[in-house]
């Protein structure tokens, strides 16, 4: 059975910590809990600084806190990387900058294998 992935685990981590919305908001530097609530309900995405603050508070990587978003971003990026690799392959070895192309292709290959 395929399970639907949650957008984020902010609420789960907050509940586990016992912190209130208000307390987390204060830790993040917000004046009220509205933003935190919207983040938890995936209504808005936190800016990078706030996402990093969540990571610091719950000691959990952003990619684990926001698995759904991470997966979407990762898939889109992988797709674009594949397109880049394809376009690099189509360049002729006689073109200027062939060395740089070869280097990039090697890096892309090594990246895939990691």
């Amino acid at each position: 059975m395929k399970h639907r992935m949650l957008g984020n685990y902010l609420r789960a981590h907050r509940r586990k910590s016992g912190l209130s919305l208000r307390e987390v908001a204060v830790l993040l530097g917000y004046t009220d809990e509205g933003q935190v609530s919207r983040h938890e309900r995936s209504e808005t995405m936190p800016p990078l600084s706030v996402a990093l603050a969540y990571e610091a508070i719950f000691r959990t990587p952003i990619s684990t806190l926001f698995p759904g978003t991470y997966l979407d971003v990762k898939e889109a990026t992988e797709r674009r990387l594949a397109e880049l690799e394809k376009s690099l392959h189509q360049r002729s070895a006689k073109d200027s900058g062939a060395g740089a192309v070869a280097h990039k292709l090697t890096w892309l290959k090594q990246r895939r294998e990691v």
């Binding site: 059975m1 399970h3 992935m5 609420r11 789960a12 981590h13 000691r59 959990t60 684990t64």
Partner: protein, 207 residues
């Protein structure tokens, strides 16, 4: 012995680390004017819990309840809803029946599977752990799920009314019994749920 605690099975950092491994289940304990809920992701990950109160007016319980549980359903998008059907007493059975029907309707409307855990299955499951009373069950659950420990109320005196937090533990118990009775690879309830024990021995994937 370390593996018998929730912490050893689910370190804090693993919460949500691999969501595809956990079947998300929303467990309810239904009372006449409130419901306790617990959200599981797999048998050992407790994501959320709480109590929702609602007014019981004529023909309005369905609407009121829908609003109360809508947020939880929207937030966690469970694959299965489990509700504990009390069979041990008849007090306010009609109201509880209405609430159960409303939950079932919500589940059906959202294409979520609906399962019922009866009191006998619950008692049978916890009997080997020497848990006969609701408080003993709650105490055991507080040991298994450390994030709930602080929610465990003090043992009440006979002349005290039930603590409002106890309904959360009843919901967690329903969820636990549901998972214990789940055959790997299916969503059916087994009759020998007690034999499976806790913590779960089977792989947590593909449940």
């Amino acid at each position: 012995m370390a593996e018998t605690t929730e912490r050893s099975l689910v370190p804090d950092k693993e919460l949500g680390a691999n969501p595809s491994q956990g079947l998300r289940v929303l467990a309810f304990e239904v009372r006449s004017e409130k419901i306790g809920f617990a959200v599981f992701e797999g048998p050992t990950r407790l994501l959320d819990w709480g109590v929702r109160h609602f007014a019981h007016r004529k023909n309005h319980s369905e609407v009121a309840l829908g609003k109360r549980i809508d947020t939880i359903l929207h937030l966690y998008q469970p694959s299965i809803i489990v509700a504990h059907q009390r069979s041990d007493y008849r007090s306010r059975a009609k109201q509880r029946g209405l609430v159960m029907a409303a939950i079932q309707k919500e589940a059906t409307g959202r294409s979520i599977s609906f399962r019922v855990v009866d009191t006998k299955a619950l008692r049978d499951f916890f009997l080997p752990y020497e848990c006969k009373t609701k408080y003993e069950i709650a105490s055991t659950l507080a040991e298994w799920f450390e994030s709930l420990t602080w929610k465990l109320p003090l043992k009440r005196m006979p002349w005290h009314s039930e603590h409002h937090n106890l309904v959360i533990f009843d919901a967690v118990a329903a969820g636990v019994v549901f998972f214990a009775g789940m055959e790997p690879g299916s969503h059916s309830m087994l009759n020998n749920s007690c034999d499976l024990g806790w913590p779960f021995r089977w792989p947590l994937t593909d449940v």
